[in-house]
């Protein structure tokens, strides 16, 4: 043995990244299965103490797909993303910054002439360079005020008309709009109930709030003949509806019920069948070298946001082709609101290499964090305890952001937030 150790030539080779990830996935899968088995054995013997019980977890959806996707689904993607984020927040040595960022820019096609801060030394790490600002005026807004503008730099992956509540991903793979945006929840009814309470006791203050509440109720599917508020002024339909509501408590309660499920069975976000409107969608993919802040495509009012903790799969076009319903599995922030033509939603979808989603006007929002994961797990457990279905998201409303508009108003082209590393 001594002879062999002394005389055998040892050569080290790097393991290819793909094999390394695969091995990591297998190891994680093995450890999960072993822990589950041990717990089951202990439970069978009655040896499990209360504090040994694992934290109730959200039911993780195992996606179907080829073996690459299967292995990926066993990886701790969020932990990897957080680690990647921490790594990218480490300050780079001063003299490595310029060559490092130039190399990154060359590899991912960043146009350094557009960057607001031309001195690359000022970016302490890759995370801050990734979230860079652009020079004023390099992204002029289209002068056509009837236009919907691109919210980000990127590539158009898919767009079209939504039929039967389904969004096409790519290559004919579709997913349900309910799965993407979330279905109507009791919280919608709660807001509408509050609105109805105002109706029962109409004080001066309540009267001021009525317009906002009534608009919110409309957005959630009660009427859907929305006033063209952003185009200026309220419509006669708006006033008629408000008067009619104040007259009868019975009618108000009917509206609450209609908020959750319309009589004709159409989903809550769908345009009213009698209107001449339809739902359209567009998917924009941001590559690693793109400017990663996102902007408002139209003047609109954000009324609520839903944070789906989800997972953090890559959203590269390759994975979108191979992983059906990718956007409904990933962590995402769904911003719901209305614009001059009715319903409007804006959904930034996270990815492993990006990490967290920031929304400028929502300081409470924390994405890709252990805290929100734990909160989501607890919410799922609480819902299970009550025998209710967990809808998969945590919701917040911006109704008090503006008294007159009932939400947070955004102008066309206004910066809304961005994707950050880690």
């Amino acid at each position: 043995l001594r002879y062999a150790l002394r005389n055998t030539k040892v050569e080290w080779y790097p393991i290819p990244v793909g094999v390394g990830i695969g091995l990591l996935g297998l190891l994680h899968f093995y450890r999960t299965r072993r822990n589950e088995k041990r717990l089951q054995e202990k439970e069978a013997l009655g040896e499990v103490w209360e504090n040994e019980q694992p934290l109730p977890r959200r039911r993780r959806i195992r996606p179907s797909g080829p073996w690459q996707v299967q292995i990926m689904s066993t990886l701790p993607l969020k932990a990897m993303s957080r680690l990647w984020g921490r790594f990218n927040e480490l300050p780079l040595p001063y003299y490595l910054r310029v060559p490092g960022f130039k190399l990154y820019s060359w590899f991912f096609g960043v146009n350094l002439n557009e960057v607001a801060e031309p001195d690359l030394h000022t970016y302490p790490n890759l995370a801050s360079f990734f979230y860079r600002k652009l020079k004023p005026g390099v992204r002029p807004l289209d002068p056509d005020t009837r236009a919907v503008l691109s919210p980000a730099d990127g590539r158009i992956l898919q767009f079209g008309l939504i039929e039967r509540g389904e969004v096409e991903q790519v290559k004919g793979v579709t997913y349900s709009l309910d799965a993407l945006l979330g279905a109507a929840t009791p919280s919608h009814a709660d807001h509408s109930k509050k609105f109805m309470d105002h109706m029962r006791e109409p004080t001066q203050k309540d009267t001021e709030n009525m317009i906002a509440d009534e608009e919110f109720a409309r957005m959630n599917g009660i009427s859907y003949t929305l006033p063209k508020l952003l185009a200026g002024g309220s419509s006669p339909q708006h006033e008629t509806s408000l008067d009619a509501s104040t007259s009868s408590e019975k009618a108000s309660e009917a509206l609450v019920k209609a908020d959750l499920a319309r009589g004709d069975g159409t989903p809550w976000y769908a345009p009213k069948p009698t209107s001449n409107n339809a739902l359209y969608y567009v998917v924009i993919y941001l590559a690693p070298g793109d400017y990663h802040r996102f902007h408002s495509p139209v003047p609109w009012v954000v009324e609520s946001r839903r944070h789906f903790a989800g997972e953090l799969y890559s959203v590269s076009p390759y994975l979108q082709r191979h992983l059906p319903g990718l956007f409904t599995l990933n962590e995402r922030v769904v911003l719901l609101g209305r614009w001059r033509w009715g319903f409007f939603s804006y959904t930034p979808v996270g990815a492993t290499n990006v990490g967290s989603i920031k929304v400028n006007f929502d300081s409470e929002l924390r994405t890709n964090s252990l805290t929100t994961d734990t909160a989501a797990d607890m919410a799922a457990a609480e819902a299970a305890k009550r025998g209710e279905e967990y809808h998969g998201f945590v919701e917040a409303t911006y109704r008090h952001a503006s008294r007159t508009l009932g939400g947070h108003p955004l102008q066309r082209g206004e910066e809304m937030g961005g994707f950050q590393l880690g």
């Binding site: 992204r139 289209d142 939504i162 993919y285 902007h295 959203v315 033509w341 009715g342 804006y346 930034p348």
Partner: protein, 49 residues
């Protein structure tokens, strides 16, 4: 990362229904101004009513 927009708009031309590309404006309806795979930048037009 990706951004998905879902919005309500007045119904556009028949061609816009089928392919997304309008090929010509229809008064008051939604019309797309983009093509699949196209590179786009912030502030450029996606479509219009």
């Amino acid at each position: 990362s990706s951004i998905v927009l879902v919005f309500e708009a007045p119904v556009g031309s028949r061609k816009s229904f089928d392919t997304g590309w309008s090929g010509g404006a229809r008064e008051g309806g939604w019309n797309w101004s983009i093509e699949k795979g196209q590179r786009i930048k912030v502030g450029e037009k996606i479509g219009y009513v």
